[in-house]
Symmetry: C2
Subunit: 378 residues, 2 copies
């Protein structure tokens, strides 16, 4: 090899290395709110990545529904399996579900998980369960179950499970109706409700139904069918929720303390999301109306309030991953009203599930086909 | 021919006659809000039917942009040309535009029209004009120009023109910005505004800017780009408007007396329809936020508030014909909020322009391809 060829070979090697180090394959470019973005693939080959969270070192922690946790370096695309995950009941819509961290997370703090747990040795029915653990190296330690919800049914549907923190020592998470409609209005169990706990698992004294006989004190709101996204707006102290609705009427709801979101009472015989006419009847009294309804259903998989600097035109917007209608749903809010909606990434034809925002405002998302993608400027 | 064949022939003839008398060809069936509907073609071969109104005898009166008025019997499909239409300036988006009647219209009452008129013999610039006439037999009589708007520009765009009555002796109609953005905020002319007049063309004394120097007293609201639909909600005394927005942001607006809807001030540099954050700046002070924004643009051609008995599940819903995105847009309201949207008739691939509701609640619509369709139960 002469000297010139040697330099060429070195150059090619460096380019290959640079490309490998970057790791992210460009999938498409687009424009939204007057801003140009690119969508890149960061990882692939995963098994339904259900939860996705940014850690303080810039890596992502993700759950796979089949019961695995992995750490992902978004620059190299390297995946590191995390040990210490307990036994998870994987069946139907259930398995290892969300992972979340409170605002200001630092290495060694608690990580929070939801998953489906068999109720007992003798009772294999699955229930949505909240737990926490610490990450030490590549292992989860100190796994603590905070709440085994009272939500057992004979089905493997509607486990809810997204976790959201209010930044003031509380967390919210949802439990679906577990495939049994009466659970929506039944507050004697946890199914069909959003729950609110202290981050150490205790019931806050100011929960709306504390001390009321026959009502679970963890309940913050009820009448939910299958909550699949929660987003906390710290600036306004608002909790947004998105859920799979009946008959195609997925709902975006602004969650009020103690609110009844109507499932399934308002769905008998007619559609749930009809206009509320004054004097139409008493059956709606005391029930909250959705902020937005999707017809047909998009099947939301998540909800995120965008607050990043990378895309200033998206600040204050909500994003939902759409499973059935395979896109990223962008919702423009005006106060408590959803004034506009944009459907992004439809070209990918991917069921989009989890969403996460990194400190600079890049968006990460997971697809049911096992990919982790990210959206960054230009 | 034997006797049996004779009977057969007679039967075939009767069936053909029955079909001809019915006249309406079934195009498709669908379901919305739990109700089954069918879409039929009532007429075809027209030239951009821009306006469509039901008369008291069950016939439809329609305008074609090229300057014709025709009466349509929806049962037979028969079209009757109406004489007495004055000279219309047909160019670009202009021509003969809307036709409307006040609630309770009876034969011999005034019919109202908007159209584009050349400003003068010596000045061929077109301006949106409001007129009225009476229908006698197959002829329009007593044509009266009520307002030649001050809206001349060098373009043939954004004439606005839908007419709506409040049932209390007033009418509203819109004028677009005429392709010149500064008209949106300039109240010294009529362009970029909704106007309010008595049904005899006088300016009501309670119009918001009456007596204010440099402002046209006909103006009810301003800052509009191109209003293409108006709907009056008599039950709540609300006026809804839909307009073609900038950069794809079509808007549904609830019109407030004297309101400034922002065009084009809020569109510089960033999108018009962004969320309104408290304290974001002073440039939005005193400007109305849209109720709903379409991203991407659907290009609305009309707006109708459904009040019919035929489709109880649609009562109180707004409907907009969509031109660019070729469908019928259904908007579910909850008070002053648009909570849901459904896109109907997309299969037809038709630019849907005018809408009209008959007394039993069947919906009529026109397409730019020159068809009149109707939607009826099952």
């Amino acid at each position: 090899m002469n000297k010139r060829n040697g330099w060429h070979l070195l150059l090619v090697c460096l380019l290959l290395l640079a490309n490998a180090a970057h790791g992210a394959e460009l999938l498409l470019r687009g424009e939204s709110a007057g801003m140009r973005y690119r969508v890149e693939q960061v990882a692939a080959g995963l098994g339904v990545p259900w939860g996705l969270v940014l850690l303080d070192d810039g890596s992502l922690l993700l759950t796979e529904r089949q019961g695995r946790v992995q750490r992902l370096d978004p620059e190299s695309g390297w995946l590191t399996p995390i040990a210490g995950v307990p036994k998870v009941r994987v069946r139907g819509q259930g398995g290892l579900l969300d992972v979340a961290v409170p605002p200001g997370y630092r290495a060694g703090d608690w990580l929070y998980f939801t998953y489906v747990k068999a109720l007992a040795e003798s009772d294999n029915r699955g229930v949505t369960t909240l737990a926490r653990a610490r990450l030490e190296g590549d292992r989860l330690r100190d796994w603590q179950v905070l709440l085994v919800t009272d939500s057992a049914t004979g089905t493997d549907r509607h486990f809810g499970s997204r976790i959201q923190f209010d930044g003031q020592g509380r967390l919210f998470f949802g439990v679906g109706d577990r495939g049994e409609r009466p659970n929506g209005q039944d507050r004697s169990n946890h199914a069909g409700s959003l729950l609110r706990l202290d981050i150490d698992g205790q019931v806050p004294a100011d929960n709306p139904f504390v001390g009321q006989s026959g009502i679970r004190p963890e309940i913050w709101s009820y009448g939910h069918r299958n909550p699949q996204g929660l987003a906390w707006d710290a600036q306004h102290g608002r909790l947004w929720e998105i859920e799979h609705g009946p008959r195609g009427g997925d709902e975006l709801n602004l969650i009020r303390r103690g609110g009844n979101y109507g499932w399934p009472v308002l769905s008998y015989g007619k559609e749930y999301w009809g206009p509320i006419a004054v004097g139409e009847g008493t059956e709606r009294e005391g029930m909250e109306a959705p902020t937005k309804v999707y017809i047909p259903s998009i099947a939301p998989g998540s909800l995120l309030l965008y607050t990043g600097a990378a895309f200033p035109g998206w600040q204050g917007n909500l994003f939902a991953g759409a499973l059935a209608l395979t896109h990223l749903n962008r919702i423009v809010l005006d106060g408590e009203t959803a004034v506009a909606e944009e459907r992004l990434l439809g070209e990918l034809n991917e069921r989009i599930r989890a969403l996460a925002q990194d400190p600079q405002g890049w968006l990460y998302l997971s697809t049911d086909s096992g990919r982790i993608l990210r959206i960054r400027p230009q």
